[in-house]
């Protein structure tokens, strides 16, 4: 580009290059810092990361502390959360994109409402869950109460990403199906949803990842920090990986910082595996979609 500006002297060109460098640095530096922090944490946690840790139970001594109830609890939580949030979220998105004519007032109200819900701090969902699920509906401090709370929390994510996926399906396909006499639901179920599946799946993974890392609402709901058994039903008390990490991080004994680091490593590896799995699955679905005309 500098050739286009022959009158620029060397100082000006140096300033140009410097500014571009600073901008690139603003992208790179946070990433490098994150890499350093994660690296430091994994190295610190490594000595603690053994089979006893993965299959053990929380303990007052950090040498013996394990995270099995948290790991099992987190998996149960996200499966339940997905089972609750995905049908409702996809249903709401289908209603807004395929059914509610975009000018209708009620659709507009729902739309604005979802945008606002997406900005509500997660801890407030915790208070809603505490009052509604734990107390009013009598679910107690149970796995189901936790999952229901997380489901409400991730619902806006599911709805927003599903709507985007539905929008990528060309209208010509809907019109073709309608011309063949398909009803709206037949169009949705047999044409639109299969086409939008990769996008919907991406949204589902985003939502599940979010649910897996959430801590604050579960603290408010009353997840246990010390649990010597594995949750054995939807009405059981529960704990989760982030809750155990929070507890270990908050203890003054430096040994527990090591335990927390090991717990963080497990959490990050799980999240990474979840997302890589989604990318692979998404790639396959996309290939299938392109393969079948």
């Amino acid at each position: 580009m500098s050739a286009l500006h022959p009158r620029h002297n060397r100082a000006a060109r140096r300033w140009e290059a410097l500014f571009r460098g600073v901008c690139l640095g603003a992208v790179a530096l946070p990433l490098i810092v994150l890499l350093g922090l994660v690296g430091d944490t994994v190295l610190r946690g490594l000595p603690k990361l053994d089979l006893d840790f993965l299959t053990g139970f929380p303990s007052r001594k950090w040498e013996r502390a394990g995270l099995l109830p948290g790991l099992v609890g987190s998996v149960q939580l996200i499966v339940l959360t997905a089972a609750l949030a995905l049908p409702v979220g996809v249903g709401a998105a289908v209603y807004l994109e395929e059914y509610g004519s975009r000018t209708s007032r009620i659709a507009r109200v729902i739309e604005v409402n979802i945008a606002n819900l997406a900005g509500v701090p997660s801890i407030l969902y915790g208070l809603l869950g505490l009052e509604l699920f734990v107390r009013a509906l009598g679910l107690g401090r149970s796995l189901l109460a936790g999952a229901a709370t997380l489901a409400l929390l991730v619902l806006p994510v599911v709805i927003l990403t599903t709507r985007e996926a539905l929008r990528t399906v060309p209208d010509s396909l809907r019109e073709a199906a309608a011309a063949l006499g398909a009803t709206r639901w037949q169009i949705t179920r047999q044409v639109v949803l299969p086409m939008a599946l990769p996008g919907i799946l991406t949204g589902a993974i985003l939502a599940v990842s979010r649910a897996m890392g959430e801590t604050a609402p579960l603290v408010v709901i009353g997840a246990l920090t010390f649990m010597t058994y594995v949750p054995d039903g939807v009405d059981s008390y529960f704990t989760a990986l982030p809750i155990l990490i929070f507890n270990w991080t908050s203890r003054p004994d430096p040994g527990f910082a090591t335990t927390a680091a090991a717990g963080i490593t497990v959490l990050l590896v799980t999240l990474l595996a979840l997302n890589l799995g989604a990318i692979v699955l998404r790639g396959r679905l996309m290939a299938r979609r392109q393969g079948s005309p």
Binding site: P121, I123, L124, T249
Partner: protein, 296 residues
């Protein structure tokens, strides 16, 4: 859209889908109801004056004060530090991605930057308390083990991708014609960005800033772990403070029975938090809408 011969099953399905959408409205109604009823019960015992005019927050002590300002001050301090980190990094990286990066580099860097937002906040809390604070203690004299500085800096890292992606949208919305006109007049690409594109994108960037502040105000785990649990009205980032969110976490972890005044302080603080974040979000969405209109 209903035709004269719409089968009954179609109507049932449409009603079911509508119910899914309506659930989100019920969620909002639920949040508002819960906050309103418990907060009303709180203000039946504590006057609004004691809440807004006192400067001490000691509801769990024998001598109770209910002045919200120390918590608001703690939230403002950590949020300000977070924004001081996230705004320059987010804005400059947005400029790089929108104006300078080649499409390939942009495609590769964007998801990497999003990683920063994907790390669970409890992990950021650990980073702040266990890694950053000991490091900063070597450089900053008098830095306590729990402080607003580390929590704020780490929170800034977390919200950088949000500032970046919203600002990038704002920069990309600026019409090409403006850039071309500037370049045609002989301005360099950097000069064009700074004098033409940035001013044109200012609504969108303000929207990014506003939404980022809202996110920082509502962020919980980082401050609950690393910023301390001592409500105090101070601008000193080196000492322990307490944010609104950290107070909610602290009280939730203690076994305070429902129905007591102490329990209701949770909801009074939560209502203040809700109003603050709702106002910032509403403002941010209006600014973003204005930015889109400018872009068209």
């Amino acid at each position: 859209m209903s035709q004269p011969h719409t089968p009954i099953i179609e109507r049932v399905i449409e009603a079911g889908l509508f119910a899914c959408g309506a659930l989100s409205v019920l969620t909002t109604a639920g949040i508002l109801t819960v906050l309103a009823t418990e907060t009303a019960a709180f203000f039946a015992e504590v006057s609004l004056g004691a809440f807004l005019l006192d400067t001490q927050w000691t509801p769990l002590f024998a001598e109770k004060h209910f002045g919200i300002w120390p918590l608001v001050g703690g939230t403002a301090l950590t949020s300000a530090i977070a924004i001081a980190v996230a705004l320059p990094f987010g804005l400059l990286s947005a400029i790089y991605l929108a104006e300078f990066a080649r499409p390939g580099a942009r495609q590769a860097l964007k998801p990497l930057l999003e990683l920063l937002a994907g790390v669970p906040t409890v992990v950021y809390g650990y980073f702040a308390l266990v890694v950053l604070t000991p490091l900063l203690q070597r450089a900053v004299p008098g830095l306590a083990g729990f402080n607003a500085l580390s929590a704020g800096v780490v929170m800034g890292m977390m919200i950088t991708p949000m500032v970046s992606s919203l600002s990038e949208d704002a920069l990309s919305a600026v019409p090409r014609g403006l850039r071309e006109a500037s370049l045609a007049l002989g301005a360099s690409p950097v000069r064009t960005v700074l004098s033409v594109v940035l001013p044109a994108a200012r609504s969108g960037i303000l929207a990014a800033l506003t939404l980022a502040i809202s996110r920082a105000v509502g962020e919980t785990m980082i401050v609950a772990i690393a910023a301390g649990q001592q409500p105090r009205l101070t601008a000193d980032p080196r000492v322990p403070i307490e944010t609104m969110t950290a107070y909610i976490v602290k009280v939730s972890m203690g076994d305070i029975p429902a129905g007591t005044l102490e329990f209701r302080t949770l909801f009074a603080v939560a209502t203040a938090l809700f109003l603050l974040t709702f106002a910032m979000n509403a403002l941010g969405q209006r600014l973003a809408a204005r930015a889109r209109r400018v872009g068209q």
